[in-house]
Symmetry: C2
Subunit: 152 residues, 2 copies
Amino acid sequence: MQDKNCQGRGQWHGKFHGCGCRMTAGRETVIRVLQETSKHLSADEIFIRARKINPDIGLTTVYRTLEKLSTMGEVHRLDSGDKRGRFELADSEKGHHHHLVCTMCNSIIDYDDFIDEEIKLLKETEKKLSQKYNFNINSHLIQFYGICEKCK
Amino acid sequence: MQDKNCQGRGQWHGKFHGCGCRMTAGRETVIRVLQETSKHLSADEIFIRARKINPDIGLTTVYRTLEKLSTMGEVHRLDSGDKRGRFELADSEKGHHHHLVCTMCNSIIDYDDFIDEEIKLLKETEKKLSQKYNFNINSHLIQFYGICEKCK
DNA sequence: CTCGGTGCAAAGAGTTTGCAATCCG
DNA sequence: CGGATTGCAAACTCTTTGCACCGAG
């Protein structure tokens, strides 16, 4: 309907359709929230933001949507150290990035200033692993762990 | 006491001491369980195995030890898709490896047949990031997501 | 019209916390 | 000895499920 609110709505419609699912208002809302943030939100935080767009949405729908998107490989569930899951689009509009995770305070820094060489190597590795393990690779997650500036 | 049961006991003793903590039977047991497995165990599974070595240990101690080791950067908490956390030594005796995660069935394949280039690039990236973000990097986690052989 | 999706309330599970007893150094 | 650590049970929170109703295609 309004492509400006949920980028690539048609594309998502197709992705859902491809696995026997439907595009609904609830799902659109969750996707939009994920697209509009640059943070790693918990289900709960996504729910609060989603409510502002669509007051009728329930927390259950948020969970079910995230579960489905995760299975589809479109969303990554991150481990934030505390017990709740945090989520981000696998292929974010905000651009591809990797993580620097502080093991003291659990904060996460996104960085995207890595060399072209790194991307090239990843592609190569992906290809090699795909063949060797007969695995269809869709995306990846790279995290470095350590102590951040503040915690030192 | 018996270095053969918990490799590098003295080393661990030192690590704990270094952050104002003590080496105890419970902690030793948890570390030993982690060293002796090649799987990604949940707190619960670690507890069950720990009990076989040391019947007096409590689940609470397992959680508290994992929490501490995680903060120390010695253990990684992995996200397995189901809601419980899974853990592995950051610097396993079993050797360093990366993960291939199936987004359908949540199974994890460890692989360690890296390209030499991959290791070199990682070291380089670590160094660059350390400087740029004033971050002490201790370890990393690399995961590729996709669909496994069985789930295709 | 059909079957997948949704909200609500309740159930389920994993994890954390309070506290008195215990152990390390 | 003194403070860190532990086990137990209770408390908490996040997440999932059952069910009747709704809505996309």
